[in-house]
């Protein structure tokens, strides 16, 4: 009886292996962050159709995983077999690269710093803008309550913080003034949620605060979902260029034999079709200069805003992380000084 069972299991096993080898079944796992869920649902459907048309007989399944950017990166480090990662900030992919799962120069392997779509930080205010918030310096006025997630727990919130810091520097301020500005800004923050979606809920559903610092795509989505009669978007004079990069996880694709398809998947994001999808989900497509059609639509949808990049103002993520968000860093000093 036992032997018979073992035999049939063995048979089933060999059959199973033979089965996958001939039918060219592929699965990809895309580990991403929270707000890209709908974007990648669209991307996956289209890409699968395209791939299966080009490679008849192939069967492609793409699974997606979403969560806080840092938590997602940790899952990949701890062994979640992601073929590609599409996270909120370079720092999280850097951390994966540091563990040797992918090469450290991943941002050079794809155009535009490996960011097929970009965004920026804007303000979401209540209808009619009762506190008359126009620019970053309105946020530090007494009596204005600002809602933003904690930059130590939320990757996305680090962009908010750095945008405010860059605003001071770009207006001729020095580091000390920027530090003072950030200190005043966070004095006006009554609630620090752990993630971006949490902050949106606090602002929108719980009615807390006067202004929400948000990614542009999240702000547009909020206005679309909740109605323009309740909220409006204020674009500041200057903001940060938020680049959420994408990368193939070398160790995983080499082990699973999915490199070709993973690479094609990420490259698809740069095709006109992929760029169109990013646009549809309120991201700013990265390659507008090459595509006049997209460039015009970009101009008509998004308010023009001066953008600075993190490399230009701060010299890259590793420096920023240590100085600002590390233990005892500038963010901690805001709260720990008595």
């Amino acid at each position: 009886m036992v032997r018979k069972l073992a035999f049939s299991l063995l048979a089933a096993g060999t059959f199973g292996i033979a089965g996958t080898a001939t039918a060219a079944d592929y699965t990809l796992l895309n580990v991403s962050y929270d707000p890209t869920r709908e974007l990648y649902q669209d991307v996956n459907t289209r890409f699968i159709k395209q791939w299966e048309a080009k490679n008849p007989g192939d069967k492609l399944t793409i699974r997606q995983s979403h969560g806080g950017s840092g938590k997602q990166a940790r899952s990949v480090i701890d062994g979640l077999e992601a073929d590609v990662v599409t996270l909120a900030l370079g720092y999280d992919i850097d951390a994966i690269a540091e563990r040797g799962l992918l090469s450290k120069d991943y941002q050079k392997k794809l155009p535009n710093n490996a960011s097929p779509y970009v965004s920026t930080i804007v303000f979401l205010v209540r209808k009619g803008n009762p506190k008359n918030i126009k620019d970053w310096n309105d946020l530090i006025k007494p009596g204005v309550a600002v809602i933003t997630p904690n930059p130590k727990t939320s990757g996305g919130a680090r962009w908010n913080y750095l945008a405010a810091w860059g605003y001071v520097l770009k207006n001729g301020g020095n580091e000390a003034q920027a530090k003072e500005f950030i200190g005043k800004l966070f004095k006006n923050v009554p609630i620090l949620d752990t993630g971006a979606r949490g902050s949106t809920t606090t602002f929108v559903e719980r009615g807390q605060g006067d202004v929400l610092l948000a990614w542009e795509n999240e702000a547009y989505l909020a206005v679309k979902e909740l109605g323009p009669e309740k909220f409006e978007i204020v674009t500041p004079s200057i903001s940060i260029l938020a680049e959420p990069p994408v990368a193939v996880v070398d160790k995983v694709v080499d082990k699973r034999g999915t490199r070709k398809i993973a690479q094609a998947y990420l490259e698809y994001l740069y095709t006109p079709e992929g760029q169109e999808l990013a646009f549809k989900h309120y991201y700013r497509p990265a390659l507008t200069e090459k595509d006049p059609f997209l460039a015009t639509r970009n101009k008509n949808t998004f308010t023009k805003v001066k953008l600075f990049s993190i490399d230009e103002v701060f010299g890259g993520w590793s420096k920023v992380q240590k100085a600002h968000f590390g233990d005892g860093g500038i963010f901690d000093q805001i709260y720990e000084k008595k």
């Binding site: 130590k152 727990t153 609630i191 752990t194 809920t201 719980r206 009615g207 992380q321 233990d327 720990e336």
Partner: protein, 278 residues
């Protein structure tokens, strides 16, 4: 052959095997993961460990976490006892329903509890709106944390006290009354000593659960450093910076404090039991 005759046999069969199984199981499920935490901390050395676990923000979070947990467990000890009493001693329409309701905080995913409580206690929520005009904010303050911890800890007290109360015969109270005890005396001298150990166990369970609670609290706390930041959140913060050693250091210190507190509570329970039996 002769040695076997001297071997003592336990009344129940399979004692050795069940003891072995117990030890193995505890090692696998409890001890090994915990020792992993200790080893991870070992990387950073004693000085690094001490600096991490005594940072001002961490100290502030201990005060908040342990303080609110103790307070919440105390509130639950009183209200839980009352609820258990009512459920055991009174027969009323809908008792079964109320009884089932008590378990709800067990079953509900903590995040759902957090979101629901925040919605109710925020300035624009059902309950929060009545407090807002008086300048009392519940959600997004330590008071909110207390509300969440009280909510999740309630079933522990009710469910530990209830069976003991059910076993307690009313004849005992009648006897006390017939011997001239007034109602307060009956409660303090007869009922309380009987349910004391169970009540303390319930208190300890509610407390332990509250200290470790993360899911429901982060929604309602506001999470402002030095004010409303609980210790489990600091652990997550460290992880978010890929500081595994720092995260486990705080976890270990929390573990040690919790263990000491639970040990004290257990000793206290043993003492009350002994006193009652004496």
């Amino acid at each position: 052959m002769s040695t076997t005759t001297f071997r003592k046999h336990n009344v129940l069969p399979g004692f050795n095997i069940s003891l072995g199984y117990t030890l193995l199981y505890l090692c696998l499920i409890v001890l090994i993961p915990l020792s992993a935490a200790f080893f991870k901390t070992y990387e950073m050395g004693w000085q690094g460990f001490w600096a991490t676990v005594t940072a001002p923000r961490v100290i502030a979070s201990y005060k908040l976490s342990f303080g609110t947990s103790l307070l919440a467990a105390t509130i639950n000890a009183f209200s839980g006892l009352l609820i258990a009493w009512v459920l055991v001693r009174y027969d009323f329409w809908g008792r079964r329903f109320i009884d089932a309701l008590v378990d709800l905080p067990f079953a509900l995913p903590t995040a759902v509890a957090g979101i629901a409580l925040t919605a109710i206690y925020a300035g624009n929520g059902w309950i929060g709106q009545f407090f807002e005009p008086y300048g009392i904010k519940i959600a997004f303050t330590p008071l909110g944390i207390l509300v969440a911890l009280t909510f999740i800890g309630l079933p522990f007290v009710v469910r530990t006290v209830q069976p003991v109360l059910e076993d307690l015969e009313t004849e005992l109270e009648e006897a006390a009354a017939s011997l001239g005890a007034d109602r307060l005396q009956t409660f303090l001298r007869v009922i309380l000593p009987a349910i004391g150990p169970a009540l303390i166990t319930g208190f300890a369970l509610a407390f332990a659960r509250a200290v470790g609670e993360y899911g429901s609290v982060i929604f309602i706390a506001g999470n402002v450093p030095m004010v409303s930041e609980i210790t489990p959140l600091l652990i997550i913060t460290k992880l978010e910076q890929y500081d595994y050693a720092g995260a486990t250091a705080i976890a270990v210190s929390m573990l040690v404090v919790s263990f000491v507190l639970l040990l004290i509570i257990n000793l206290l329970q043993g003492w009350t039991k002994k006193r009652r039996e004496a």
